[in-house]
């Protein structure tokens, strides 16, 4: 299955590049290719648990003719659409905690606005180079990342206690109620400030960073961390997306097929999850990120146009 996903992604990426060489591609070839790439990203993103934005921005900015400003805006809207679609179910089931998410989302949304403004103010090559470096760092983080199902939280910190950042959710897989609380809240807020900045600057969804911070740093149970991450993302990306929308950086011909493709792909990915070795797909995604990150870095440095 991972081979199919990789082949699909490679094919979809190769097609527009080949078409660009011909310099005679009809306009509709681009949204069609975007749909195919986004569909593949939707599948492998779910299987690898990384979301779509982190794959979309480096791949599309590296292999499609759209300017990085438009690709970053589309990446944010794509991540936002996915997060908004998932959030209601996560909130209802209690697998996302609004109480835990609200302070983190506030800090993240402020810095994501700053990141978006910075990204639009900096020269394109600087952003492109930094994007390449960031994607390579994310690939390394995904490779090295560890998870803890139920981290030990000896005692909440003062801020977590004041905001009553604790609760209980029902874990259907374990058929039991799980009581949770968090610690190191100031460090968590600082981490979300950094994550928000990167999300706004590069147009990346930030699930790859939200979950480790919530789970490993703050001590939230893994399922709650995953659910709450999606909800935080829906707010943080909204704030940054408005900066791009108001600047005029939204191209419907780029955004709509990408959003539709990723959401359909994610549905297929969700079904394949039961029959696919997610660890293998995760390795494929790390390789893809390394390739896309290297491409973005070399493009930014002017070494590979």
């Amino acid at each position: 299955m991972s081979r199919i996903a990789l082949a699909l992604l490679a094919l979809a990426c190769a097609a527009p590049a080949a078409a660009a060489d011909a310099a005679a591609a009809p306009w509709w070839a681009w949204p069609a290719a975007l749909f195919a790439v986004s569909f593949a990203i939707g599948i492998v993103g779910v299987l690898a648990g990384v979301g779509g934005g982190v794959l979309f921005v480096p791949l599309v900015s590296g292999f499609f003719p759209f300017h990085l400003d438009f690709v970053r805006a589309a990446g944010l809207l794509l991540a936002l659409s996915g997060a908004l679609s998932a959030a209601p179910g996560l909130l209802r089931s209690g697998l996302a905690s609004m109480r835990l998410a609200m302070p983190l989302a506030l800090v993240g949304s402020i810095t994501s606005v700053a990141g978006a403004m910075l990204g639009l103010a900096l020269p394109t090559q600087t952003v492109q180079t930094a994007l390449g470096a960031a994607i390579l760092a994310i690939a390394l983080l995904l490779w090295r990342a560890r998870k803890s199902e139920h981290p030990e939280v000896p005692a909440p910190d003062a801020l977590a206690a004041a905001l009553r950042l604790h609760g209980v959710f029902h874990d259907p897989a374990a058929a039991r109620d799980v009581h949770w609380r968090v610690h190191r809240t100031p460090s968590g807020l600082a981490a979300f400030a950094g994550i928000g900045l990167l999300a706004g600057l590069f147009g990346l969804g930030a699930g790859w960073a939200n979950v480790p911070v919530l789970n490993l740093l703050m001590g939230a149970p893994l399922k709650l961390a995953v659910g709450t991450s999606g909800f935080v993302l829906s707010v943080v990306d909204t704030a940054a997306a408005w900066v791009y929308v108001n600047r005029g950086a939204v191209l419907p011909i780029l955004v709509a097929p990408s959003v539709i493709g990723v959401m359909l792909g994610a549905k297929i990915g969700g079904r394949l999850l039961r029959v696919t070795r997610a660890a293998v797909v995760r390795r494929v995604v790390i390789v893809l990120l390394l390739a896309a990150g290297a491409r973005a870095l070399l493009k930014g440095l002017g070494l590979w146009h």
């Binding site: 300017h67 400003d69 209601p88 209802r92 109480r99 606005v113 909204t238 900066v243 005029g248 709509a256």
Partner: protein, 132 residues
Amino acid sequence: MTPPEQLLYARWLDWATRAGLALLVASFAAYALGLAAPFVPFEELARAWSLPVDRYRAAVGAPAGWGWLALLRHGDYMNFAGIALLALASLACTLRVLPALLVRGERALALIGLLQAAVLALAAAGVFGGAH
């Protein structure tokens, strides 16, 4: 077990997201199938989409901020209705749960929610980094 304000937020978000995505799919179909003429013709768009955003806007005469509202009859700008609805969903839901948080005595969370709504409203209004 799930707090009532969280359920309320989920209900509003569900409706807003479904409506936004449906609007986006329908408007893109109208745009791509040529049912509504675009403001920027496809050939002109393809010549300009590799430019930085400010140069793109100057090249095709595209609006910034909420200027797209005046162009909603065009196939391309029709898509902005769905995009804006998706981007306004979190603001609407946050404002909706504020009274519920206050009723439950959650003053700290209500204050955070109020600040969050202010950030999102200012961002939507174009206060941060709008077009030059």
